[in-house]
Amino acid sequence: MKLVVPDMSLVVLVGTSGSGKSTFAHRHFAPTQVLSSDHYRGVVSDDENDQAATKDAFEVLHFVAGKRLAAGRITVVDATNVQREARAGLVALARAHDVLPVAIVLDLPEAVCLERNASRPDRDFGPHVVRRQHADLRKSLRHLQKEGFRRVHVLSAQSDVDAAKIVVEPLLNDRRQDTGPFDVIGDVHGCRAELEELLTELGYALVRDAEGRAVDAAHPGGRRAAFVGDLVDRGPDTPGVLRLVMGMVEAGHALAVCGNHEQKLVRALRGKKVTVAHGLAESLAQLSAEPAEFRARVERFCYDLVSHLVLDGGDLVLAHAGLPERYHGRASGRVRSFALYGDTTGETDEYGLPVRYPWANEYRGSATVLYGHTPVPEAEWVNGTMCLDTGAVFGGKLTALRYPEREVVSVAAHEVWYAPVRPLVAPQAPVAREPGVLSLTDVAGKRVVATAEHGRITVGAEHAAAALEVMSRFAVDPRWLLHLPPTMSPVATSRREDVLEHPDEAFEAYRSAGVGEVLCEEKHMGSRAIVLVCRDEAAAAARFGAEGVGAVHTRTGRPFFGPELTAQLLGRVRDAVTAAGLWEELDSDWLLLDAELLPWSAKADGLLRERYAAVGAAAGAALPAAVRALTAASERGADVADLLARTTSRLANAAAFDRAYGRYRWDTDGLTGVRLAPFQLLAASGATFSRRDHGWHLALADRLREADEELFATTRRLLVTTGDEASTGAGVAWWEELTAAGGEGMVVKPMANLLRGKRGPVQPGLKVRGREYLRIVYGPDYTEPANLARLRQRAVGAKRSLALREYALGLEGLERAARGEPLWRVHECAFAVLALESEPVDPRL
């Protein structure tokens, strides 16, 4: 005997004590699926039979059941449930989670139950208890369906119980195994000619009957059409549309969900009393000219339409009026109602039409949701959802989205078939698209970000809290903030005793990671800068919805300059991009550049003055006096030779320190004196460039420099073959030359750019900093042998792990930005990088 149980349902066992519910549950369900009242009595009171604990036990049981149902897990409640009130709570729980309640009744003879109880010493209650339960059960049987149980299975004999077999049936909306590809088509509303044209445009071959009417359409590539509902009403040929779509669905060439108009048409065809308005009259008139069997077919087809479909492993959801994530794959009256009619705010607009609740603005789900219902002038992405109703029947267009390609295909309406109550194109901004709005829940608390290159990356709540403050107080507008650059690890500490860092370790690290060619890039003496530049204000407004042409920000998202200077700088960058012809070449009207902005003092003048100069000044005042005093003592014959030597050495260190930080400042006036050294193109419309080699990136940078030599600085570079000693020797010599002249050092990167090793991505770069430069990191006297010996003990491991996680987050954010994903998805990655930066990792690495 097959007992069908819908997937994701709440299964309520009903039966008296001793009817064998626990045994039944144990046989047919996994132990974690079964929530037994006895068990929870034990959990709260240490005694499974303590009736005084019943109330608390059920509260816990309901709580756990709620968590399981919220997660979409089938759940079985093993309790007597013979009383209506007990069942009512469970039905309400199922409804609250939009799953179906199912009852399985074990209606065994009273004598059997009594006998079983008698054999169990812990069931010491009298036979009257079972008798009363049995009476309650008998009374309940007729009402179960009415109480809301979608299916009721009654087993009245032990033989039925023994023969029972549970069959879990997927819900009608569950088509996850169906992966497409699909062409999802918006509201047709009886526009048959436009539909035929659109299908042809999409590559379908129409099949016509003897009378020349389209009855099917098939795609040679096996693609299938998917209709988001509202095939009928208002338009010139509802029967023609239905004939074509029903033919496609029956032949397996199309899927369809129900629209509110189909729902109402069914009721009208069944003779129910409905208000004939909103174009229903046209459908009824047109259908009345069709034979009765056609009308019956239409009625059955429309009645059988499901309210929403979950496709492609859960990645694609179709519903006529859209669907919030919590309803995906669920079944309840309100899920159906939302899918058909959407949610309204309760207000009406100036045309007397209900104001739709903008659920898509709040949508944060991972599935793409495609829908129609509310005509919009253009199909646009809003947080991973798209409305495909572009008002074909109102003279707009009929639109389809190719999935998974995400390509919009439209054909224009042949004429205005039906006058809209509300103008299709409103006088001002037509759709309240609000891409710039981020919610606190997009960033706060512990978060896990899934990245393509490095798996799931966790951000702790306390780090997110720290980042929230920095982000909200200091960062540029999030619409401009596509990317925060990852931190970079230094090389392993050098084996040489007189330096902390040396190129040998970088070459060796990449050689052992199997990287043959590395590019050494000069490390500029400036600050990391991310430059987002748009072709013009119109392009910026269209893509980013913000005023201006872009942003120039630091590695923590702060703007470098005030609005005027930023605009000037962006103007120069934009002109250089234009002159280099990159807009056309990259087919994008925005670019995101990774660069170094010089001098460091442009950002950090205060830091240079307050930290570095203050130290230099104090050393410059104290040490000469100390040397003088020691020299005088020495001349008196005091034994201060060692102390004098050390102090004299420190005096020299202090002078070297002054020279080291002094190189990081020069006077700037407006943009005069400011240099920008781009070294990587991060993203553009529809593209990222992390797999282009660094030669390609630097060649682009060189072209910008050719266009504006005053602003752009070149990045000196040297290609090194890690397995060739002559080549690595040349690399070392080059680094020595750079750093001897006071340079900061170099960054060694895999020439090929993004590379994957055995365990995720290879470090994207290792910095090798110069001996003199490191004075401003480790202090003037770090080079003293006694100090250097201790500083060599440094933990680079944590920094490396951090660098890789931030790198993967950065790449993920760039991919999302290039794909045009919703702001919160892009922001999530940038925010996570900032949050990881608050992890306690030695800031000197």
Partner: protein, 461 residues
């Protein structure tokens, strides 16, 4: 890191007896921050100079320490060069006996004033030569202090915090050492260690005989004890025991008698909230909770939610309000939450009134639309009270240089007209009524120091 003491007392080499350090020797002493060396650059009949050179271990200073308040966390640090608390501690350790004024065999000399010259080539002092004079001159020192420029290469950077200081005077050596022991960290206004009750005892011991009468005793006490108010009060009252001042005098010395602008601002906001009949109040940007405390004091505010973007500020508010120890009836009226006004936060909805007291001026102008949306559309309280500085009034602040804003984090300060332009726009966009109220003494030309806007629904008053 260097201190020299010179005397021209004859015979000058007696300085060696007073300091208990032989002029012919070079002696190293281990101290917590490194090694202190005592040596004599000059020691003859006419003049004798003792030098204390503290060799700070710059790596040891950073490793194994977790004190963010002080700049020890950085290897790039002026501590190894300056004469601050590290040197004072070394001084106290190396010259302990001399500081106590004991000198067996030369007690008479120890008890007499002798000509002294103290050289501190790098004494950090935020107040510059002027403060050094205020600190040392009342004790009988002549102060010659020359600020050290930050950088010879960049003269426009001006002076550093350090001064090259020479103190001359006729004093007992023990007094001189105790002056230095107390006043070096006071001038620096930083200590490398945590202060606790025993620090009060140290201060009173070293300050015996001179601190109680010092005109800057409050400043010295407060800075020496790192402004730990409990300790400062304890020290000041023990200092005062000698001359027995009236209770009120001490309190007045600590609390300015007039009502501060911040206090007037809070009172103005509370008055408006009471007029509005608000019961559930949202304090957006509550900081360390000054307004929250006032709100809790009035039971008509039944539900108070304090919100700030800074987790640190919320922790401070939690501590300041004593929420861990507060009775349940108080605790259930208040909650504190981190949130940011540039993100929408639906959980802020459902309040009668929201207060943004001195908050908007900390938000970049181009982020104000995000704040407007978060507050007026998403949190959407019944009424909104906004206060912000009135920029016109700034010319009346004597200590505020022209064109400068009142706080370094202010992104703008609005005139009354600019504030009204923003607030009128907000009101129009959200169908609200807005009225403007002054806070603080109103100048006939420049208006009040603080301005307030109260947004209410159109239909009510």
């Amino acid at each position: 890191m260097l201190l020299t003491i010179t005397t021209t007392h004859r015979p000058a080499t007696d300085l060696g007896f007073l300091l208990h350090k032989h002029p012919a020797k070079v002696q190293p002493f281990r101290v917590a921050s490194g090694t202190a060396h005592v040596f004599y650059p000059r020691a003859d009949e006419r003049e004798c100079t003792a030098a204390l050179l503290l060799e700070v271990d710059p790596i040891g200073l950073v490793r194994g320490r977790r004190d963010d308040a002080f700049t020890l966390g950085q290897y790039v640090n002026d501590r190894p060069y300056t004469a601050g608390s590290l040197l004072a501690v070394a001084l106290g350790a190396v010259f302990r006996t001399a500081m106590n004024g004991r000198c067996d065999g030369h007690q008479e000399l120890a008890d007499s004033a002798i000509p002294l010259r103290v050289h501190l080539p790098a004494l950090p002092c935020g107040g510059g030569p002027e403060l050094l004079r205020r600190l040392f001159a009342p004790l009988g020192w002549h102060v010659a202090a020359r600020p050290v420029p930050l950088s010879a290469a960049v003269p426009e950077w001006g002076d550093s915090r350090c001064c090259d200081v020479e103190l001359t005077g006729e004093l007992r050596l023990s007094d001189a050492l105790r002056h230095l022991y107390v006043l070096l960290p006071v001038a620096d206004d930083a200590k490398h260690y945590w202060v606790e009750q025993q620090e009060v005892d140290k201060l009173l011991r070293a300050g015996e005989g001179w601190l109680a009468a010092h005109p800057e005793r409050e400043l010295i006490t407060s800075r020496y004890l790192k402004r730990t108010s409990v300790l400062v009060r304890s020290a000041l009252s023990r200092l005062a025991e000698g001359d027995d001042p009236a209770e009120g005098e001490l309190d007045d010395a600590l609390v300015p008698p007039r009502i501060s602008l911040a206090e007037q601002r809070r009172q103005a906001v509370l008055t408006v909230l009471r007029e509005l009949g608000a019961r559930r109040v949202l304090d957006l940007g509550c900081g360390a909770g000054a307004l929250l405390r006032d709100l809790l004091a009035d039971p008509s505010f039944t539900h108070v939610l304090g919100v700030d973007v800074s987790a640190g500020a919320l922790a401070a508010a939690h501590a300041r309000l004593g929420l861990d120890r507060a009775p349940d009836r108080v605790r259930e009226r208040i909650s504190l939450r981190q949130s940011a006004l540039t993100y929408t936060d639906p959980s802020l909805a459902g309040h009668d009134a929201a207060v943004l007291m001195e908050v908007v001026e900390h938000v970049e102008p181009d982020r104000l639309p995000a704040l407007e949306r978060a507050v007026f559309e998403v949190a959407a309280p019944g009424a909104v009270v906004v206060t912000t500085p009135n920029a016109e009034h700034n010319v009346l602040f004597e200590t505020l240089p022209a064109g400068q804003m009142r706080h370094t984090d202010h992104r703008f300060e609005w005139t009354r007209a600019q504030f009204a332009r923003w607030a009128d726009g907000v009101a129009a966009r959200h169908g609200l009524r807005v009225r403007y109220l002054p806070i603080g003494p109103e100048d006939p030309v420049h208006g009040p120091p603080t301005q307030m806007a109260v947004f209410t629904p159109e239909e009510t008053r």
